[in-house]
């Protein structure tokens, strides 16, 4: 059985519109104008138990709305969903025992109290034995390296420290599925890497599935095998991360270094020169028109080739190319 099964899920919001200025406010008072926004439009996908699935898209693509429907907080306008065998919006409480959630922009730890107090409160809320709570706190504190932070009031923690505590708290009741909504938002590179590593390790150790939304491709690349890309409320791509790269990474970057200085008119047929130095150059080529073998042969034929590196563009660039290929869809009025 799938951990998550979603069919034709849609969500429409009605938002109030108001022209700018006082006149606009008065007009809105007399004749309020509303606009219907389709945040999610007929999304379908499956997620296997224990899978690490990335849900990626630009701001306003419908990622968080989908997560909130899957946790039972929002009722969808149409479609079906089953999460660990529950219809989330009908069986919210039963589902809550089996899932953990982190909404990166919102704190769930009690702000004025040490994180440990929230851990013990969650222990009661999830109806866990005190001995189990103590054991879990020990295990999670070690895994997330937060032993020294648990007694400090949450308001005194840095964002990176707080997020490690937040994710640890969401794993206290041994959920079978973790829904992480932008867990790395606002974190620096080191803190991001740290939290990603721990999430991956915990997922492997405890067999917990992770559905992760992010607008940071780095999160997906570091954590997920499979990715779903959403834009304008629709799925525009879903496959393995490696397949995404293969399918869309026909463009490669080549960096070369020669023993002798390059001529002023250095050029390689079939490749675009991005940067040229005294001994080295950076080029871009498309494997559909110029096979790597042919390009390497041309570069070698120039003589004195000391070093060559061929790399893929970052996932970030690949995803940007996918978004750009999707023309914006008119929003229903």
């Amino acid at each position: 059985m799938s951990a998550i099964s979603v069919r034709n899920l849609s969500k429409r919001f009605v938002t109030r519109q108001k022209a700018p200025g006082l006149a606009g406010s008065l007009r809105a008072l007399v004749r309020p104008e509303t606009r219907e926004v389709e945040a999610v439009r007929g999304i379908s996908f499956e997620m296997e138990p224990g899978e690490l699935l990335g849900f990626i898209g630009p701001n306003g693509a419908g990622k968080s709305t989908t997560i909130k429907i899957l946790t039972g907080i929002l009722h969808p306008s149409g479609g079906e969903a089953s999460v660990l065998g529950h219809v989330p919006w009908r069986e919210r409480r039963a589902l809550a025992y089996k899932i953990g959630t982190v909404f990166g922009q919102r704190p769930q730890l009690w702000y004025h109290l040490p994180a440990l107090d929230t851990f013990y409160l969650f222990g009661k809320i999830y109806e866990l034995d005190d001995a189990l709570v103590r054991a879990r706190v020990r295990l999670l504190a070690e895994a997330f390296e937060i032993e020294d932070l648990l007694a400090t009031p949450v308001r005194k923690l840095s964002l990176g420290q707080r997020m490690r505590c937040e994710v640890a708290a969401s794993l206290l009741h041994q959920p079978r599925l973790l829904l992480l909504d932008e867990p790395s938002i606002g974190l620096d590179v080191v803190a991001k890497q740290r939290i990603r590593d721990t999430i991956r390790r915990m997922s492997e150790q405890e067999g917990v599935g992770v559905l992760l939304t992010s607008h940071d491709a780095g999160d997906i690349e570091a954590l997920c095998r499979r990715v779903i890309i959403v834009n304008h409320g629709q799925i525009v791509y879903q496959d393995k991360v490696s397949a995404l790269k293969r399918a869309h990474l026909t463009t490669k970057l080549v960096e070369v270094r020669y023993a002798e200085a390059l001529p002023d008119d250095f050029a390689v047929p079939g490749a675009e020169l991005l940067k040229a130095g005294r001994y080295g150059a950076k080029l871009r080529f498309d494997t559909r028109t110029t096979p790597a073998e042919a390009l390497v042969a041309r570069l070698a034929a120039m003589g004195g080739l000391v070093d060559i590196t061929i790399t893929d563009p970052s996932l970030e660039e690949v995803i940007r190319a996918i978004y750009e290929a999707q023309a914006p869809v008119e929003v229903a009025a």
Binding site: S64, G72, I73, Q105, P107, H112, I125, P153, E182
Partner: protein
């Protein structure tokens, strides 16, 4: 099993109690306002009694009136601040966390609000009681205190139901300030905060006493100054009636609200 279900609300209550106690100086400073109110009321009512040339008005002496107002103020200053709280949670999206835990959202809010109210009630009661004692002497009767505490608890529940109803309107409109303003004014006038309802004309007294505003404030405060079993029983019936009616409304509003909820952010 049921013990565990209830224990979670107890844990929410004690956690919020700890959170509220995180700033004891702030709590103490806040209770200064009741001290100020009581000093002002003392001056005002002493002048009123002197102008009337009476030792009692509508059956209440100056001492009764001051102790009555002290308890009424304590109740009002310690009310659940839930309406604004829920509205803020809907606006900033943090409601998402409160709705995805395995508990009843309304009981969670009740436990949280009680934790929030309890310390304020203690500090306000102690500070207000101390100053009134200094100004007019000890309270007229102490034996009714257990009954008063029960009536205060039930009154708190009525107030909680109304605050929850106001808060839940945020699921539809996000903004609750206007409704809350109206409710506060009704509490002020018909709840007996401005003056004891006994000073109202007979017909208005009868109407006001049957309303939830008086059941939350006037009822317990009046019982404190002249406790009697029959007054307690009468109040209890009105309070339980309102709790049942309003509780039902809150449950209905919650069901409707969650289906309508749209969350900001993300």
């Amino acid at each position: 099993m049921i013990g565990r279900k209830l224990a979670k609300y107890g844990a929410v209550f004690t956690t919020q109690l700890q959170s509220a106690a995180a700033y004891p100086l702030d709590l103490a400073a806040r209770s200064l306002s009741i001290v100020l109110f009581m000093v002002v009321f003392f001056g005002l009512w002493r002048a009123t009694f002197a102008a009337q040339g009476a030792t009692s008005i509508a059956g209440l002496s100056l001492r009764d009136t001051l102790w009555y107002l002290m308890l009424a103020e304590t109740i009002v200053l310690s009310r659940p601040r839930m309406a604004q709280q829920i509205a803020a949670q809907v606006r900033d999206g943090s409601i998402a966390y409160l709705l995805n835990k395995p508990y009843s959202f309304l009981l969670y809010q009740a436990a949280f609000s009680l934790g929030d109210s309890a310390l304020r009630m203690l500090f306000n009661g102690l500070a207000g009681g101390a100053v009134v004692w200094l100004l007019v002497g000890p309270p007229p009767a102490i034996w009714g205190l257990p009954l008063v505490l029960v009536a205060m608890a039930l009154g708190w529940m009525i107030d909680f139901c109304v605050a929850a109803l106001l808060g839940l309107t945020a699921f539809f409109s996000e903004e609750v300030t206007a409704f809350e303003w109206i409710y506060n004014k009704l509490l002020f006038l018909l709840g007996g905060l401005l003056i004891p309802l006994d000073f109202f004309p007979e017909w208005l007294q009868r109407v006001a006493k049957a309303l939830p505003f008086a059941a939350a404030i006037y009822g317990p405060a009046r019982l404190f100054v002249s406790p009697s079993i029959s007054a307690f029983a009468g109040l209890l019936a009105i309070q339980v009636g309102w709790i049942c009616g309003l509780g039902l409304l809150v449950a209905l509003a919650y069901r409707q609200g969650t289906a309508h909820l749209s969350i900001n952010g993300g």
